[in-house]
């Protein structure tokens, strides 16, 4: 099939529909509203349901109910709205309910603004809700990937019975790029014998629950979760590399910023600086394995983020002191400029790494 031009927001929506998602519960917030407008039109066309909730707290709990009932279901939000979902996310993780949450990040903290940002990295990757849990966190960087990642997200959610977060920003939502819709899709949704669909519809009585008052029992649940997280961490780390051959200055960036860094790396290479880029595609599990392997060949790392320095901690943990790790960031909705990133690379080349 030939490619068509699509907005990131539409690609997420269409990707969800093609992944067999038929239920969206959400609350308006800029800059993710266009995604909801798309789904408000699109879902009824395929016999699905778009329901506007009274709040993000309600949205995430409707997602909880729909997931418990065995559906592929999603919500999306941004900034303050995602914060309001933290209790629900912890419950989804605790009750092991597969579900997909899209976060189009915006400038914070507080009300902030609607410009692009990556300042929710910690919240997503470390866990903004209470208790020990992990979401799988995916960060696409093209419109095509925004479409494709949704199928992936729903599959991972079902495979591991775990919430999955897809992270992007408003600029990516507005960005148009060619997309290959990939022909008709036949979605295989795995059977969910655990779902609470009424006892006539499965064997025995099903219960969805994360309340285990006896510490020994709760510890057992936690150990089960821990085992699952370890498995995910081993199997699902994904990253992209760009011009990494012989690179001694390695940039690490995700999402929109990774695109900017690709340009900066190209320019640096053109100037004879051996720069390269690692782009984490999964933010959790963080591709520490791959990054760790590059540490001995790398003179310096530079994380470029639209925040004060969050992912840098995971890079440092992966590198474990074997090379210095620097951070370049823009804040509050500002986007790093290729020229500024290039200047940082040059600095490193002449300083640390050039030594």
């Amino acid at each position: 099939m030939s490619k068509i031009l699509m907005k990131g927001n539409e690609a997420i929506g269409e990707g969800a529909v093609r992944a067999g998602c038929r239920y969206f519960f959400g609350y308006p917030i800029t800059p993710q509203s266009e995604l909801t407008h798309y789904l408000a039109k699109r879902l009824p066309e395929v016999g699905g349901l778009f329901l506007q909730a009274e709040s993000e707290v309600a949205s995430i709990n409707m997602v909880y109910g729909a997931a418990a009932a065995g559906a592929r279901v999603m919500t999306s939000s941004s900034g303050p709205g995602i914060s309001l979902m933290q209790e629900g996310l912890s419950f989804l993780a605790g009750s092991e309910l597969p579900s997909v949450v899209v976060n189009l990040m915006r400038g914070g903290p507080g009300l902030g603004n609607i410009a692009p940002s990556q300042s929710d990295y910690f919240q997503a990757a470390k866990g903004g809700g209470h208790g020990d849990y992990h979401m799988i966190v995916l960060a696409p960087n093209t419109v095509q990937e925004m479409l494709d990642t949704m199928g992936n997200a729903f599959d991972l959610a079902d495979k591991y019975r775990n919430p999955v977060m897809v992270m992007a920003d408003g600029v990516m939502g507005q960005m148009m790029e060619p997309v290959d819709l990939g022909g008709d899709v036949r979605v295989e949704i795995p059977p969910k014998s655990w779902a609470t669909t009424g006892m006539a519809h499965h064997a025995g009585k099903n219960v969805i629950n994360s309340c285990l008052v006896i510490p020994e029992e709760m510890e057992e649940l936690n150990l089960k979760l821990e085992k699952k997280y370890k498995e995910i961490s081993q199997k699902e780390q994904v990253c992209d590399e760009y011009m990494l051959e012989g690179a001694d200055i390695v940039l690490v960036a995700f999402g929109l910023v990774s695109r900017i860094c690709m340009s900066a790396v190209e320019k640096a290479r053109a100037m004879g600086i051996k720069a390269g880029l690692i782009r984490p595609v999964t933010l959790w599990p963080f591709p520490a394995g791959f990054i760790g392997k590059t540490a001995d060949k790398t003179r310096a790392y530079l994380t470029v983020e639209m925040n004060m320095g969050q992912m840098i901690e995971d890079v440092k943990l992966a590198v474990c002191g074997r090379a210095p790790v620097y951070h370049y960031g823009r804040l509050g909705g500002m986007v790093p400029d290729v020229r500024d990133v290039l200047a940082e690379i040059k600095n490193l080349h002449e300083g640390d790494a050039g030594r």
Partner: protein, 186 residues
């Protein structure tokens, strides 16, 4: 080949749809494209810009920080983005509204009185496509014919009646650009 087009103006001037049309047509030609809009902060009447990157290769940054082509639909846009244009780049100025002159001398400047021409053509709404026609002529990224085909896809069915007027606008723009080239070469 990489062409980084920045189209700058204010709300209502059709900058965004022009950018989308261009991106669509180039996609038809098998190019890699990326389109990125920028709005002002105000609700209405504010800044309305977009960047379109067109390339034979996978596009890294979709941001047009250093345009090879700047379309300035009004004075403030020219003032603001003129300096960003690459050396030897192209500036197409909507001379109906752009009152200021380009201050750099290392860029090629093509003034197109789009609003006036549009009024003359009987439809003030086609000014943006006059400018686009000029761009097509000057850069050759894609043919008018393919842009015309794209119009069918981009415009909702009920506006298909407007396609001929828009195609004429594209042609008029190309014509004006050709004339300018001739003047340049003199």
């Amino acid at each position: 080949m990489i062409e980084a087009v920045y189209i700058a103006g204010h709300g209502g001037q059709g900058t965004l749809s022009t950018g989308q049309l261009l991106a669509n047509a180039c996609l038809k030609e098998g190019k890699f494209v990326a389109y990125l809009p920028f709005y002002g902060v105000e609700k209405r009447g504010g800044v309305s810009n977009c960047g379109v990157t067109i390339s034979d290769q996978r596009i890294s940054s979709p941001f047009v920080a250093e345009p090879t082509v700047l379309i300035a639909m009004n004075s403030i846009s020219l003032e603001k983005y003129e300096s960003a244009v690459v050396p030897d780049g192209l500036v197409i100025a909507n001379s109906s509204l752009v009152e200021n002159a380009v201050t750099r001398d290392d860029v090629r400047v093509v003034p197109i009185p789009a609003n006036e021409e549009a009024e003359q053509m009987g439809d003030p709404m086609v000014a943006n496509n006059i400018i686009l026609g000029a761009l097509l002529e000057l850069t050759g990224v894609v043919s008018i014919q393919i842009v015309a085909e794209s119009l069918k896809e981009v415009l909702p069915e009920r506006h298909h009646g407007k396609i001929p007027a828009n195609v004429r606008a594209l042609e008029r723009g190309a014509e004006l650009a050709r004339r300018h080239k001739i003047r340049e070469n003199k």
